[in-house]
């Protein structure tokens, strides 16, 4: 395959960036999108140019490090995959592919395609945990039976990999899907109910402080989410938030 890549290049957070054009040849369908970028970078290095920097690590769709806005879509045209699992067979010979970083006020660009997603860490630090000591002096695991349906739903919410595609997909750059997934995981478990009120209030407050936008229910986040995190989580968080506010 022969392709034309238009890639966002930006030296650092303090400089302006721009799209630069790179023709590339010899791309095979079996390559992952990131392997295609590896080929590009090897060529750039050999020519004496600076390679394109992008976040990536596990390359098996689970660490959440890879990002990339590909032709306007977070993680590109395929569904339920991260960029590292997107394969070049999704593209055709002669295509032009525009590659940009995830765009959001709360995700400033660090360099080229790398953005700072530490806002997500801070939302979790605000309450995304159960306050249990790790001493091991807890009760036997099977003394807390949990309805399989709730346990499975909690698991589904917990499959969020924190990549930020939901924010990048949203016209308001809202982090509601991410935050609600974490709130839901705990809200659905008896262990997590104990601190549910404070948790939702603190996490939402932090989310707002980070400069994420409001949710206007367009549902773009759910469509682009590589893990298929459901909008139901947002509805659940809204319920939790409302009842917590009334209690508070």
């Amino acid at each position: 395959m022969k392709l034309t890549l238009k890639i966002w290049r930006q030296k650092n957070a303090n400089t302006k960036g721009e799209l630069k054009t790179y023709p590339i040849d010899g791309i095979e369908g079996d390559m992952s999108f990131l392997e295609m970028l590896d080929v590009l970078n090897e060529g750039l290095i050999n020519k004496g140019d600076e390679p394109v920097v992008f976040d990536h690590d596990c390359r098996e769709g689970i660490c959440g490090a890879c990002s990339l806005q590909i032709n306007g879509e977070p993680h590109g045209p395929d569904r339920l995959v991260t960029t590292c699992q997107l394969h070049m067979r999704m593209f055709n010979d002669g295509d032009t592919i525009v590659i940009e970083p995830f765009r959001a006020k709360a995700f400033p660009v660090i360099k080229d395609l790398v953005v700072d997603r530490s806002a997500f860490d801070r939302i979790q630090q605000a309450g995304g945990y159960i306050s249990v000591n790790t001493s091991g002096n807890t009760i036997d695991a099977n003394t807390i039976p949990i309805n399989k349906h709730d346990a499975d739903e909690s698991f589904e919410a917990a499959t969020c990999i924190g990549c930020g595609a939901c924010v990048a997909a949203c016209k308001n750059a809202s982090a509601m899907l991410f935050t609600s997934a974490k709130v839901s995981q705990f809200a659905l478990l008896p262990q997590g109910r104990i601190e549910a009120t404070e948790r939702v209030l603190n996490m939402v407050a932090q989310m707002d402080k980070e400069g994420f936008g409001n949710c206007t229910n367009t549902g773009a986040c759910e469509i682009e989410c590589p893990k298929g995190i459901s909008l139901e989580n947002i509805a659940r968080m809204n319920r939790e938030y409302l009842s917590a506010s009334l209690k508070g």
Partner: protein
């Protein structure tokens, strides 16, 4: 030759850990506030230890190269975590988990450590459930279990195919709680580049901020390395792209002995290599072997026809298939340990029965399981005479529920539907049992420098059983290190802050700067990846699943030559004082190029086959690994003396008092 003191407590096996905990020194809560600990790595071992130490009152600084602790590669562990809970009532016990692990490791691990691991395993599950880890459950609301290789009980707890992710998020949430309290200061996108030793004790690290390129000094009263394994020395592995041995290798060069580097796990069920562009290999969880049957064609002409695309797997009848694991190992069948399964796949492929284009693949087939589950489901729904289509449909639903995400991953990568035709798999480098030598307290040969998780060597011997890595990481982090490190830190309550303006910090920082400068200014002709791939080829071809003296000798020579070429000719674009991914890689590959040579040297010296270390010269008539207990029942701990090819060997003899050492059989 010095004698390594493993500091295994005296007394009966089952009492050792309890007695030890009763005897070691404690630090009172007020004094803990005056003590700093550095944690390098935030996966299961590092994240859990950081959270626990902070909770106890120590001031913890965590370092990870990722942008968030949550992305450490523990996250990619799929299948599960072992614990001797005996929830299934199938005869499990601490002793049995201990026994399975020692046998699985081919009698090359320490009894005391492994028993402790088994002893605390049940507690891990309690802890994780309390933290909100959403493990799989049965309809009655209780925890579900499945079975893994090398054992005859079901003791594996799991969260679909994402157990590592859920456990790591649990440890990360415990960390977050402490970050929120100000007890952990996280340094993300930071890489440790050297250890600082003051008066013989580990007192700090030199780290590079990967965003600004700034070199930083951090001091502490103790340094814990939890930075994972060195599988990426092979270039292609199931490790993350950034997984590296740098922290471990740097402490090795500062005096920590490196144990059993040649013990590497080649995992049998990975997606085969598709081409030269391949950047990493993807694991298909061992849990699939609960339901998948592994086979190749019985007749070579069928294998050739499949390779050429003239026949398909489903064209072959049951009689035309060789379920070679079931044939060779009737009692464990498809659930033999990983080293055994990998070698058996290699044997069939080398003999010409491999099935994909390259001939380097075997089938992992779910058709039998789909049929079995389908019939069961139909009966449960009152349909006692279901059609074939009904059975297949119901059976596929069960398989999807159990392994859906793995099947989806396979389909995305290979572009074939594994519900319709069997998966093709081949072994790949996955885990390193070898690592920094530590005593029972997880302390390396450098006082104050502790090593946990995959980065140490301690619990898995020559082969790790499935679902035991998560167990060890969390056992070390939640329940072992927080006790044992207190024993050491008790003498530091009056030390006060460790200053970073000492000559030791100057020396370490200058050394790091020198190395970085050299790489940036080298202006050679080849990229870092060029050298890394070459190293990977040598490692895979000569230090891989089957090794022999001649190849290992030439591997040592070739790696040495490649290392020299690297330093002469590597090209690292960009600058030091900025985000520079190539420079990060260069530093890591420089270390792999040293470690690789020691790896080969260790494999060459070990004139026996055991676990993941298979020397072609030492095998039984049936092709099984042949140990030499008389001469090699020891841990090989290597001391760096300035040249990885000339390291000095120290031996820790292994003693088995509670288990009968015999030849390992899964037949």
């Amino acid at each position: 030759m010095s004698k390594l003191d493993s500091k295994i407590p005296k007394g009966p096996l089952a009492d050792k850990w309890t007695n030890h905990k009763n005897e070691i020194n404690l630090v009172n809560p007020a004094n803990k506030r005056n003590i700093d600990v550095i944690m390098v790595g935030t996966g299961l071992a590092g994240g859990s230890a950081a959270a626990t130490l902070a909770e106890l009152g120590y001031n913890v600084k965590t370092f990870c190269y990722q942008d968030s602790p949550r992305r450490a590669h523990s996250i990619a562990a799929q299948g599960g975590i072992n614990a001797a809970k005996n929830y299934q009532g199938d005869g499990d016990s601490n002793y049995r988990l201990f026994y399975d692990t020692v046998k699985g490791g081919d009698y090359r691990s320490r009894e005391g450590n492994v028993y402790r691991l088994a002893e605390v395993s049940a507690n891990i599950i309690d802890q994780c459930v309390a933290q909100g880890v959403p493990f799989a459950r049965e309809y009655g609301g209780y925890l579900d279990n499945r079975s893994f290789g090398g054992v005859l009980v079901s003791r594996t707890f799991y969260a679909k195919g994402q157990t590592g992710q859920q456990l790591l998020l649990g440890a990360y949430s415990a960390m977050n709680r402490q970050i929120n309290r100000g007890k952990i200061t996280p340094y993300n996108r930071h890489e440790m580049l050297d250890l600082v030793i003051v008066d013989g004790k580990a007192r700090g690290i030199i780290a590079r901020d990967l965003v600004t390129g700034k070199i930083e000094r951090h001091s502490a009263h103790a340094v814990v390395i939890a930075s994972g394994g060195y599988g990426n020395a092979f270039f292609l592995s199931t490790n993350a792209m950034g997984s590296n041995a740098t922290a471990a290798w740097k402490i090795h060069k500062r005096g920590a002995y490196f144990a059993n580097p040649c013990y590497t796990q080649i995992h049998p069920t990975c997606i085969p290599v598709s081409g030269e562009h391949q950047s990493k290999l993807t694991l298909m969880s061992e849990s699939l072997r609960n339901d998948g049957r592994i086979w190749v064609p019985k007749k070579k002409e069928d294998a050739i026809a499949i390779r050429e695309g003239k026949k398909k797997a489903i064209d072959l009848s049951a009689e035309e298939r060789d379920y070679y694991l079931e044939r060779r190992y009737p009692s464990f069948g498809n659930l033999v340990p990983r080293d055994v399964a990998s070698r058996a796949a290699k044997e069939r492929c080398d003999a010409g029965f491999g099935v994909n284009k390259t001939g380097q693949a075997v089938f992992l087939d779910f058709a039998t399981a789909i049929e079995r589950y389908g019939k069961e489901q139909a009966a449960m729904h009152g349909n006692h005479n279901p059609s074939k289509e009904e059975v297949t449909k119901l059976g596929k639903e069960v398989i999807e529920n159990k392994y859906g995400n793995l099947f989806q991953m396979y389909e995305k990568i290979v572009d074939e539907n594994p519900y319709e035709s069997p998966m093709m798999i081949y072994p790949a480098v996955h885990y390193t049992m070898g690592g920094i030598w530590v005593d029972y307290n997880l302390q390396s040969t450098i006082p104050g420098c502790y090593v946990t998780g995959e980065a140490n060597f301690s619990d898995h011997g020559a082969n790790r059983l499935g679902a035991s890595a998560l167990m060890q990481g969390l056992a070390d982090g939640y329940f072992v290190l927080p006790y044992t490190i207190g024993d050491y830190l008790a003498s530091d309550i009056k030390t006060g802050k460790i200053p970073t303006d000492s000559k030791e910090f100057d020396e370490a920082e200058n050394k790091v700067r020198e190395q970085l400068d050299m790489l940036i200014n080298n202006k050679g002709t080849h990229s870092v990846d060029h050298f890394h791939k070459k190293l990977g080829h040598i490692m895979w071809n000569k230090c891989g699943m089957a090794r022999n003296a001649k190849d290992l000798e030439s591997a040592m020579t070739e790696i040495r030559a490649l290392r020299e070429e690297f330093w002469r000719d590597v090209k690292v674009p960009g600058e030091m004082n900025e985000m520079n991914a190539e420079l990060e890689k260069a530093m890591r590959v420089a270390d792999f190029l040293e470690l690789g040579e020691l790896f080969a040297k260790d494999a060459l010296h070990r004139n026996e086959s055991c676990g993941g270390h298979f020397r072609e010269e030492y095998q039984t008539e049936e092709g099984e690994a042949l140990r030499d207990d008389e001469n090699f029942m020891y841990v090989a701990a290597w001391e760096y003396t300035g040249d990885p090819g000339k390291e000095v060997l120290h031996k820790e003899e292994l003693e088995y008092e509670n288990i009968e050492v015999k030849s390992r059989s899964y037949k």
